[in-house]
């Protein structure tokens, strides 16, 4: 087994076990099965650390450092406590992800997907009790599959730069129990896999079945972390479909796209369950037009959204890095794909913010800096990847 294929297998195993945990909780499996699944998950992480001990030391040290910080912080901010860890606490005590069907505490967004809370609850099940510190560690462990996979493509100094980008764009969202960092990283790696497996004309990875399995797992994970993930994956599919249609190459890829689109099934089932129980989403409802219409013709609203989204300093740095990287080495295929994906997401964000039922300034002030992380990370990652290709060619 080569070092790269070891990393690919570890990525697949961890992703599969995270989803397995969610499936077991959905099917009301015994606690023992859930504990065994989590123990296997931890064993795979140990295997990553100790098999080829000297391989990928940057990630291993970086990750231990973040674990240390995570175990030294309490969860006090509203989103992590009231949404993600409260959902996890409910799953832990009720031993089911469907306990939200009673809609206890409507304020706590019961309709949100619960993959990350499910893993946190299983860690608490394994430990045997709940507290205010360690359950959020599982959110951090969910970062491992995409971070390990990246090592297949970026090595040594490049990987160190990649980790710096993770730290720069995701920051404390790595360890405080927020899920926006997870969305950003899974979205970026899902975009990357979609590019390698479908969009790109020719590459070695297209022939490796394990990459399709990893992509499938990442796509499911992306949709089950947060509602934004559903929109982001939909964008990936639509942009890829349109590019292939424009190139007249859809016939060769349509079967792959159809198979990969099955990754929407778990989130569709979850949303159907919520709908059947009357668990609503206060943002997307029949009032959406009433909210958006008065704001649509006010130029000030667009300025305000642009200020919060596009003048975010991390977004600007990442965008400049991306543009410089493509100026140094032009790659039309990759540039077009990433630009379409990013522009589509910006368009959707404008729509979402214009239709918010809350005060626009308050909504932007509380959420823009988090949702823009996905774009910042996307630009920075692909800038780096493009420079890596340029270096290989030279």
């Amino acid at each position: 087994m080569t070092k790269d294929s070891f990393h690919e297998k570890i990525t697949l195993a961890l992703s599969f076990l995270i989803l397995n945990n969610y499936l077991f909780l959905s099917l009301n499996f015994f606690q023992l099965i859930i504990k065994i699944n989590f123990i296997i998950f931890l064993i795979v992480i140990f295997a990553f650390y100790f098999k080829n001990f000297s391989e990928n030391p940057f990630l291993k040290i970086f990750f231990l450092f973040i674990i240390f910080i995570s175990l030294g912080t309490a969860t006090s901010e509203w989103d992590p406590r009231s949404i993600w860890l409260f959902h996890a606490k409910r799953i832990f005590y009720d031993q089911s992800i469907f306990s939200v069907s009673d809609n206890y505490g409507e304020l706590w967004h019961n309709a949100y997907p619960s993959l990350a809370p499910a893993l946190a609850s299983s860690l608490a099940t394994l430990v045997g009790y709940w507290n205010e510190v360690f359950p959020k560690l599982s959110f951090l462990l969910m970062f491992l599959p995409p971070l390990i996979l990246t090592y297949v493509f970026l090595k040594n100094t490049q990987y160190l730069i990649f980790l710096s980008i993770v730290f720069f764009t995701i920051g404390k969202h790595l360890f405080t129990g927020w899920t926006d960092g997870l969305v950003a990283v899974y979205f970026c790696l899902s975009t990357f896999l979609m590019y390698l497996l479908i969009v790109s004309e020719n590459n070695f990875f297209k022939k490796k079945i394990i990459f399709y399995l990893i992509a499938f797992c990442f796509f499911i994970t992306l949709t089950l972390i947060k509602n934004e993930g559903i929109a982001l994956l939909l964008i990936l599919f639509v942009v890829t479909f349109l590019i292939k249609l424009y190139q007249g190459d859809l016939k060769n890829n349509i079967i792959k796209l159809i198979y990969l689109s099955f990754s929407f099934i778990p989130i569709i089932l979850w949303k159907l369950f919520c709908y059947s129980k009357g668990i609503g989403n206060e943002h997307i409802n029949s009032n959406i037009l009433l909210n958006i219409l008065p704001r649509l013709y006010e130029i000030e609203n667009y300025k305000l959204i642009s200020y919060f989204l596009l003048l975010n300093e991390k977004f600007i740095y990442s965008l400049v890095f991306f543009l410089v990287a493509f100026w140094i080495k032009w790659n039309m295929e990759l540039f077009r794909f990433i630009s379409f994906v990013a522009l589509s997401y910006i368009f959707i964000l404008f729509f979402i913010f214009l239709s918010t039922p809350y005060d626009l300034h308050w909504q932007l002030d509380s959420t823009a800096v988090r949702v823009v992380k996905s774009l910042s990370f996307l630009f920075a990652f692909f800038g780096l990847y493009n420079l890596r290709n340029w270096r290989i060619e030279n």
């Binding site: 030294g72 912080t73 309490a74 409260f86 409910r90 505490g105 706590w108 507290n131 205010e132």
Partner: protein, 108 residues
């Protein structure tokens, strides 16, 4: 020493302790609600207007006490010490910040 991340030596010393980090996660009032509710073996409780009008106290009390549930029809009502208690409510326990009372009527 202050860390922007919220990192605390007191927490990292024993992060797997059942009470690790609670004083950094929630306020003293919220911690006391849990102490009193557990001591009195309460299954569900209601909150006074003082709690309900304070978003922080209302939300954190509900989250922190789960699986003890807030129930609008419960006659066991938590009041802040700064609030006046209605005549039809009998005090069960008084703490530093709040009181647990048993009220005759469902709605407070």
């Amino acid at each position: 020493m202050y860390f922007k991340s919220g990192f605390k030596y007191e927490i990292i010393k024993n992060p797997f302790n059942k009470n690790a980090g609670i004083s950094y996660a929630v306020s003293g009032e919220v911690i006391e609600t849990n102490k009193i509710l557990k001591k009195q073996k309460v299954i569900n409780f209601n909150l006074s207007e003082g709690f309900k009008n304070n978003d922080y106290l209302y939300q954190r009390t509900i989250e922190y006490n789960y699986p003890i549930r807030m129930n609008e029809t419960s006659k066991l009502v938590l009041f802040l010490n700064t609030e006046e208690i209605a005549n039809d409510c009998k005090i069960i326990e008084t703490g530093k910040y709040l009181k647990l009372t048993q009220c005759r009527y469902d709605k407070r």
